[in-house]
Symmetry: C2
Subunit: 359 residues, 2 copies
């Protein structure tokens, strides 16, 4: 009989947490037991797993005794506090927060791109930022076939990326706007900053806080995480990346205009479309004659990354535009996390090595 | 006493038309009389001009007898039909449709950029596409000071750019979505195409119809109109432009991420900000420490173009990102049209020359 695993979900209640549960239910991972962990505030609430009631427990270091696999999405500080404790107790952790992404001890994984790096994990594996994941899924088959020199990305990010409370705020504001009522923003653009602005029927070119160089931390993530994920390949040359991240009044499904330059100047849009249509995790939706292109509402609930509007820059050989959409809560978060866990199971890597992660 | 003008507004009822009226009311143009012209369907309706009732008349060639100045925004086919007739009757026409924009006989004007070309008009002057206008207003001071080699733009276009009926559709769909009712799109992404998609809480990467090369006509406009407007300067070298245009569920206020390369590789973001803050028609809103950046809802009702998020591409010297927002119905349409008319008045150019426009 196949090995079965005791799985803990840390942060089971949020927009991503509820999807971690459903993605785990639908996964190929043989689950012996599940444990839902959260803050004291959520402890005692009951959620379902495969039809059975599971009572949420308050997360403590001892909660991880006997756990094989942790899927974490309860915020960076929670992961920082508990995941090293879980590793000490023998649990392998897949973390959806930004806590460990740039840590040199931690592989940052998008299975379609760099699953092979899992073999060297030390107990913690990081799941990249949502907007980064869908971009590298679309870029990797292009990089493999034509080489990749430069990427200029503009994001159109859905509000659910800022969490369930932000999504609630969008819907409340939209209703207030329609009724002509006053709007009092409390959360967006980002909970952790000082000022809050209306999101309904508006555009906010700030996601996460600002860095000293004028980029937001979200833009920083897209630049640095992309390099960490894509440059693992020894053959990969450096890729230049720049990004502007904008929040749009959409519920689920990040959009991205991705402008990119390939090394092979003879590459055609048709060849790039072919590479994309054969790529794992990608669905090519690209037929202008049928007005077929990726849309946010059509991406909702799918694990795939949708790509369309592939066309050459008419004045710069080897440069192309494309449009990439994916469900930011699934491929951008919960599904990529569970997919990493499936890879761990498949490759017999649900074990903490001797040279385990050290905080 | 200053000369006064008989002004006709062709297409006075739409989202742009009502703003043509209010912008004309607030303009420096000495108005002797106004005439509102529209289709037979709207004839007989009454609108106000400076507090007085004006009854809409059905547009006919004879309607332009005695008219000095026509402001047109009733659709391309209407302009094609009537403006040459108006010119024959001695009226100078400023056209907000796409009918004459690329016509070599017709100057395509954004006053902050190329007002000096008005001197050679032949009776018809074209107002550029909304998304093009705000971009060139922001780029021109940069081009003048640092030279401009390349532009890569992604648009976040408000629904009012597709007309009042599209805006009504967005609001109706938003309300239906909130109430859980069925949504039946009839207009967006573009009235003239076969399929219609939900706009509420969605992203639609199609504005106008598709060309054979995979670009939409809106993207084509941004590429070709930008060159026609900015390359009038004898010193201007060719500027490479590529664009992806996306409709977003915003009412008013187009957003644009504009990535650009300047000729002067020593240019700094600070110098570019200074150039922008001194430029006509531009308001620099760029202070990350105060979370200050342009937002769609703040642009509504203003004639200005707002620019923020100016910062260098950290890996490509001489390349920069910025974020540009403007009220697409004002600077993108009605105000730019009236502003052109003001320039004509100021420079004594409200007269059809002998070598008048020939259809």
């Amino acid at each position: 009989m196949a090995e079965e695993f005791n799985v803990a979900i840390l942060g089971a209640t949020g927009a991503v947490g509820t999807r971690l549960i459903s993605q785990l239910e639908q996964s190929t991972i043989p689950v012996k037991s599940v444990k839902f962990l959260a803050s004291a505030r959520s402890a005692g609430k009951v959620l379902k797993f495969k039809g059975e009631d599971v009572t949420i427990e308050e997360a403590k270091p001892e909660s991880f005794d006997g756990v094989d696999l942790v899927l974490a999405s309860a915020g960076g500080s929670v992961s920082k506090k508990f995941l090293p404790e879980a590793v000490k107790r023998g649990a392998v952790c897949v973390d959806n927060t930004s806590a460990f992404r740039m840590d040199p001890q931690v592989p940052l994984i998008v299975p379609e791109v760099n699953a092979k790096e899992l073999v060297n994990h030390k107990g913690i594996i990081a799941n990249p930022n949502c907007s980064t994941i869908q971009m590298v899924v679309a870029l990797e088959p292009i990089r493999q076939q034509f080489g990749l020199k430069q990427v200029i990305v503009s994001t159109y990010q859905a509000v659910s990326g800022a969490g369930q409370s932000a999504l609630n705020e969008l819907m409340e504001e939209s209703e207030q706007y329609i009724k002509g009522e006053e709007i009092n923003p409390q959360i967006l653009p980002t909970k952790g900053d000082n000022k809050h602005y209306q999101m309904a029927f508006n555009l906010l070119p700030q996601i996460d806080v600002f860095e000293d160089d004028g980029y937001t931390h979200e833009e920083w993530k897209m630049i640095h995480e992309t390099k960490k994920i894509m440059l693992n390949d020894m053959d990969a040359k450096d890729i230049k990346v720049t990004a502007t991240c904008v929040r749009v009044p959409v519920r689920i499904g990040h959009g991205e205009t991705v402008y990119f330059e390939v090394e092979d100047k003879s590459a055609t849009a048709k060849q790039i479309q072919d590479a994309l249509s054969n790529a794992a995790g990608v669905v090519l939706q690209d037929d202008p004659s049928q007005q077929l292109y990726p849309q946010s509402i059509n991406s909702e609930g799918s694990r795939d990354t949708f790509v369309g509007r592939v066309r050459p820059d008419l004045e710069n050989e080897g440069n192309f535009n494309m449009w990439v959409v994916s469900d930011n809560l699934l491929k951008g978060a919960a599904w990529n996390t569970v997919q990493i866990a499936e890879e761990l199971v498949k490759n017999n890597l649900v074990r903490v090595p001797e040279n385990a992660y050290e905080a």
